[in-house]
Subunit: 429 residues, 2 copies
């Protein structure tokens, strides 16, 4: 837009499209020009939707009624049971809200809640822009590589003490296993964070959309330790491979039902309810069962093996990454190469990702898109550019008590390994 | 909510759930108590989704990818062609935006646009609350029964002249065939309104979601007369019977692409994109074809015959309604009975609808929900409480060049007629 003769909300004017979606468009452009591109930009699950869930959608294709704003009762019950079973929390169907993606639910939460948003960084790309659109205050708390990009209880306490306003209304967003980093919290870390949250009467939004993709299969929710103040966010997009279906869930404890109710009222004036056939199908996803558990075990095994192989390649080139614990991301810290980069005319993280794409065809997102300082030489690598259906089928031929070996990864995730090698060579050249 | 110890956005605090959804919940409550209820409250199409569109959803159930924010390219093309074909407007795929319901798109439009919203009343229930949530100014222009609840060009000009601010940024929302009234504009009326819109450089949001349910089959869009300033709103919910699927469309002219782009940016931070299987299925709906055209002809014939029969019953009881021209609503004006009502302790439109529900089991929505004055004795009657699948099948046995007779309606829409008779008897008793 040229900016003349238009009348736009100043909170929106000049905003760019969501970074993950923009990188995807950029890649498609380069591919049309005939260039080989390795898409480590968009964080979409490589795996297909489990067959029984696709079948469920087929069986419910005729459902045409507007469903209740908060969601189909059977689905709300299945989601509550899912969290009871998986996370040992005392979730109730009355506390569940279904939305067209958890991103939309986060937007509604920010819209209805009047308080400050606390975001440990690196964090997911959309939290900050959502706050800007609505005109909310966000406070970023930067973490470090040494802290495994996690907010420590000491760090959180230090931050809160200097604010000198104990009962300021605050919403702390935690995301684990984390996007963009693939790191998670252990039980003790969660317990300590929960203690501080209780002390300061903060609300926690616990974004656990990657919970079922914890590589060890052992995900813990902070709601176990701070049930009265924690909202759990989940959905079909990641563990169920159904990003394009658009279904997210928030699960509230009873004391936060005022937030749930306010969000439902805004939902009734905006998206109304989530697509009925999709909700009916999602019931089967949240109910789980052996086919879905098997699917998850194979997905985790593939991601763990591949993630570790990728991390090794990068580490050997002096790029700092953690051994991944969940999801399908590595947050790579290229800072040991900063002075070499500067002599090559690369002065910040954005230039790093742009030059990497031009020189090697590997598309990544710079740290600044995850609210890190622009000058920081970091980037998110989504190791998802492989045929997940094929890899899943091959993994199913190998008993689950065995590890996958290098040759499996080399056969089924060749492009991903090639991308990592290109990054390594380019960095050290 | 009791209102203590909560921290909510003041624009949201105290808002009630959407009126149409609330009446539905109220009816279900009464039915659980064993009461016979006639649901004329919620305006949902009584007809099933056409078979070929349900089949299309089945065939695309496996689609899992995040689609582009603005929509699936094939769908954007089908929507543009739909408006070119049906409305003779020069729509382009680049100008189409797909959302999870046109309600969500209207919310985003109000969020990104900085200007005043002009709403002729009676108007749809959600425009006003959306403006309140966002904190926008709305100016209501009340129309009258004598004007067929339509804004006349004289009325619009009179309103604008007294404002004395020609180029104030303004968005005028027109909805035709109209909810809650079932009335529409003829071509000359649209031409005259278009002239004023051009003169004042207003933006028009032309909500034509009921366009294909114009009872005569002859719907005209104001975009033919003011193409450069008109956004056309449509979707699957009404003419396609797929309200629960949640898919709406906005079609912008080139000069308003700045609004489209700003909405798409906010969409990328909120709903991301509409459910992929639903979008793939919707392509078939907007492409049309003989099965869908036949479906529409039968739906229109049933609605026209039933709407006229309902209007006759009400008119004979001295209730003022227009012969319906589209959709499935009557906006009934009980004002000739005002003094009789007052002697029965009914003092405003809300009390009228509450007493009607209690005394007769007929659920309707009072005029105040459509931004009419509370004291006005008006109500919306949605004549949809019949088995649409059965009526459609029966209609298909009768050649389309014949009219449906009274016995058809008595056989297939008995509850709707019974509800109208109860209203008539109750009013005059």
């Amino acid at each position: 837009m040229n900016g003349r003769n238009i009348s736009l909300n100043l909170n929106v004017r000049g905003l760019s499209p969501s970074a993950t979606l923009a990188i995807n468009a950029r890649c498609n452009e380069l591919m049309r020009e005939g260039k080989r591109v390795f898409k480590l930009g968009l964080g979409q699950s490589p795996f297909p939707v489990p067959g029984i869930i696709v079948d469920a959608l087929r069986n419910h294709a005729h459902e045409k009624d507007y469903l209740p704003v908060k969601g189909l009762p059977e689905l709300r019950e299945a989601v509550a049971n899912f969290h009871r079973r998986k996370d040992q929390v005392n979730a109730s169907p009355d506390g569940v809200l279904i939305g067209p993606g958890s991103k939309e639910l986060m937007f509604l939460l920010q819209l209805v809640y009047y308080g400050e948003i606390l975001l440990p960084t690196p964090c997911w790309v959309s939290y900050g822009p959502q706050a800007q659109i609505i005109g909310r205050n966000v406070k970023f708390i930067h973490t470090t590589w040494e802290e495994r990009w996690r907010i420590s209880h000491e760090g959180l306490r230090r931050y809160l003490e200097q604010e000198n306003d104990t009962y300021r209304p605050r919403l702390l967003i935690l995301n684990y296993p984390g996007n963009p980093d693939g790191d998670t919290y252990n039980m003790e870390e969660l317990q300590r964070l929960a203690e501080i949250a209780r002390e300061y009467e903060m609300i926690l939004l616990s974004d656990e959309i990657y919970g079922q993709l914890s590589h060890s299969g052992g995900h813990f929710s902070i709601a176990r330790f701070y049930p009265e103040g924690t909202i759990i966010s989940s959905g079909l997009s990641k563990w169920c491979g159904a990003g394009g279906w658009r279904l997210g869930t928030f699960t509230f404890p009873k004391p936060l039902s005022w937030l749930l109710d306010a969000m439902a009222i805004v939902a009734s004036e905006t998206f109304t309810s989530v697509s009925a056939p999709i909700q009916h199908a999602a019931v089967h996803a949240f109910r789980g069962g052996s086919e879905i558990e098997t699917y998850l075990c194979h997905a985790r095994r593939i991601l763990k093996t591949l993630g570790n192989a990728c991390a090794s390649i990068l580490t050997s080139a002096g790029i700092r990454v953690h051994k991944p614990e969940g999801a399908f991301y590595l947050f790579a810290d290229f800072s040991p190469h900063t002075s070499a980069f500067k002599s090559r005319g690369i002065n910040d993280g954005r230039e790093l990702s742009e030059r990497l794409l031009l020189d090697t065809g590997v598309a990544v997102l710079p740290g600044v898109d995850f609210e890190r300082p622009l000058e920081e030489m970091t980037a998110r690598l989504a190791y998802v550019n492989f045929d997940g259906a094929q890899a899943l089928a091959a993994s199913k031929q190998i008993p689950l008590d065995q590890n996958l070996d290098d040759s499996f990864i080399q056969t089924h995730c060749a492009d991903t390994l090639e991308a990592m090698k290109r990054i390594a060579v380019w960095t050290t050249s």
